[in-house]
Symmetry: none
């Protein structure tokens, strides 16, 4: 698990060290005040403005939030303390998505990035990069006989669970596929993660799973859903029993998040909208018109890292870390996509955007 | 096995050639004197200063040591004479770590780099680079029936042993995993290596193995252990029956090395501490605050190469080659990490650091 990193780059190292044990009240209050401003709220309210019954989103000061939650690089720290992320995904059909999510987490600054995937997918994902730790533990129906299922399922879940307490965040869904047996196992993994109080970012086929089994995330404040336009539509239909209403996009998003018990939802779009049921923030800065597949995987990996960082004691305790993580992740992806598009134009691919993550973070939040 | 390489770049080629046969006494004495200075010791003592009962570490002149042990590139030499390294590691879960160790050895200047791994891991490790020679010979429990174990174990050990006398150093542990049957086989490989007087660098899961079976390395002066913070903690608890005492870090490290019969230990940290039980040296130069996983694998591969070079006749015979190898390996990794961090910042990955090994070595010790 993450331990304190000390303060962000705006604060001197000597102060930072004290944060490993007991952050000073004054410093926490300063940061709270800063983050309230950055979230667009007044000093006396954590809610954004509303007009009548229709909720308005507020553009988050995403750059300030990103700077506020990103820890300093402290030479006294050791491996793992800047974050350990696990992606649950990757099957016979899909191998790129979990790679994109996991490598993005590393490129942003996590120390270790694991992937739990099927046995077919593992050698391929491993071959994309030696930087990832890839566990070939998931199974699809075709490789498990009916009478073995219970036993195999228990083994799969135990394989992931023995690592669980080491992780700062799970990303469930990139390249997961929709095999029923595999999804049953992943349901159990989500329950284990929740039981261990590990934050869970749900994307892609993970959203297919939780849309059909809302109890998996309902009422879990450390759950983040990152739906694209179609995934959002299915969620709205399932939970709110209506169609997507773009005329009241913020209000509907807040209702949706509230109905699922206060999970945080990042609705991807031209502007990304983020809500935990209370506040609705938008992130519209930067961005690229290129819509190549895989950008959502960068986002889920990025949100996982920033969410973990936003849970550090140096971040104001009354700010929802899942919301802060979504805002920072959204801003960083959009910045990297815009940088990649500057040079690659129509040929921009997800790999090009990943290559721009480091420079984007450095532009916004210099390492030293 | 390595044969004489001639002198380092500070010495003319004509003199160097004579070293292949009989180094002159004067040249050996000059180098001895230089290395004693580089290790921070006085000319009359090989021990560093102590204050009361608490041992103090001495910052090694790592740059001079690195220059002192790196052989010249002599066009008369042939393939293999600059070093042949073997990494024992790589299993179903871990493939990146053995690749990092093996490719680092090549990037520093070894001529041949082998990996002995499981059958699952081999195709993946091969796919990372065509430069490595990858032997799919290790077996994990799941692929061996109970009644076959003895026979399979003998075959695995024989497969590695037939190569043993060609190797200048083994690196045992990167990505080895903790499968009991596999670790039993690796225990036998360590015994064979020791029997053949091949130096052995133990890292990662290899440390898990030797911490539980200290006899494997006890009293072997060519063994090097390279623990990180957690691995060091387990070693101290097991051997010294106490907790890590950072107030007396050098003294405790020296005691630990002595208790394991004079093996050399490189304790990784903000400053690396190195001891064979007699002296305690630190390496604090360069470095990066990034703690991405995999840097320890670069170190183990680097130490293997430098250790092999430090055993050449042109290096003073009364300097412990394992200590010299650790100091040089530590310095080179730290230099490469600092160079990578200069451009990559938070997004620095192990692959980026490996790409900086060559430039780092060239900066410290130009090839010509």
């Amino acid at each position: 698990m993450l331990v304190n990193h000390g303060m962000n780059q705006l604060t001197s190292l000597s102060i930072a060290r004290s944060y490993s044990f007991a952050p000073s009240t004054a410093a926490v209050l300063r940061r709270q005040s800063f983050l309230i401003r950055a979230l667009g709220g007044g000093s006396h309210s954590k809610f954004h403005s509303t007009a009548g019954s229709t909720m308005q989103e507020t553009e988050a000061d995403a750059v300030s939030i990103l700077r506020g939650i990103t820890p300093t690089l402290d030479p006294n720290r050791h491996k793992g303390q800047a974050g350990k992320i696990a992606v649950i995904g990757g099957c016979r059909e899909y191998t790129g998505a979990p790679y994109f999510a996991a490598i993005s987490a590393l490129k942003i600054g996590a120390d270790l990035s694991h992937v739990f995937c099927t046995k077919d997918a593992a050698p391929v994902i491993k071959s994309y990069s030696p930087e990832l730790i890839v566990h070939p533990v998931l199974e699809e129906s075709y490789s498990v006989r009916e009478e073995e299922r219970k036993q195999v399922s228990a083994k799969v879940v135990a394989e992931v669970d023995k690592w669980m307490e080491r992780f700062d965040c799970l990303v469930v869904g990139p390249g997961l596929g929709r095999d029923p047996f595999l999804l049953d196992c992943v349901s159990e993994i989500i329950k284990q993660g929740r039981h261990s109080n590990v934050p869970i970012v749900v994307d892609g086929d993970g959203l297919f799973l939780v849309t059909n089994s809302l109890d998996l995330v309902h009422g879990y404040p450390l759950a983040v859903l990152t739906p694209n336009v179609n995934e959002y539509k299915r969620l709205v239909q399932k939970v709110l029993k209506c169609e997507v209403d773009d005329a009241d996009a913020p209000g509907q998003l807040a209702s949706l998040a509230k109905q699922i018990g206060g999970v945080t939802i990042l609705r991807k779009g031209r502007s990304d909208l983020i809500s935990d049921g209370d506040i609705v923030n938008s992130v519209s800065i930067y961005g690229s018109p290129r819509r190549c597949g895989g950008q959502g995987d960068i986002l889920s990996g990025s949100v996982a890292v920033f969410l973990s960082w936003a849970r550090q004691p140096f971040v104001a305790a009354d700010r929802n870390p899942t919301v802060l993580g979504c805002i920072a992740g959204s801003a960083l992806l959009r910045k990297a996509a815009s940088l990649a598009f500057e040079t690659r134009k129509r040929s921009t691919l997800t790999t090009d955007i990943i290559e721009c993550l480091g420079r984007s973070l450095e532009d916004i939040c210099p390492a030293c």
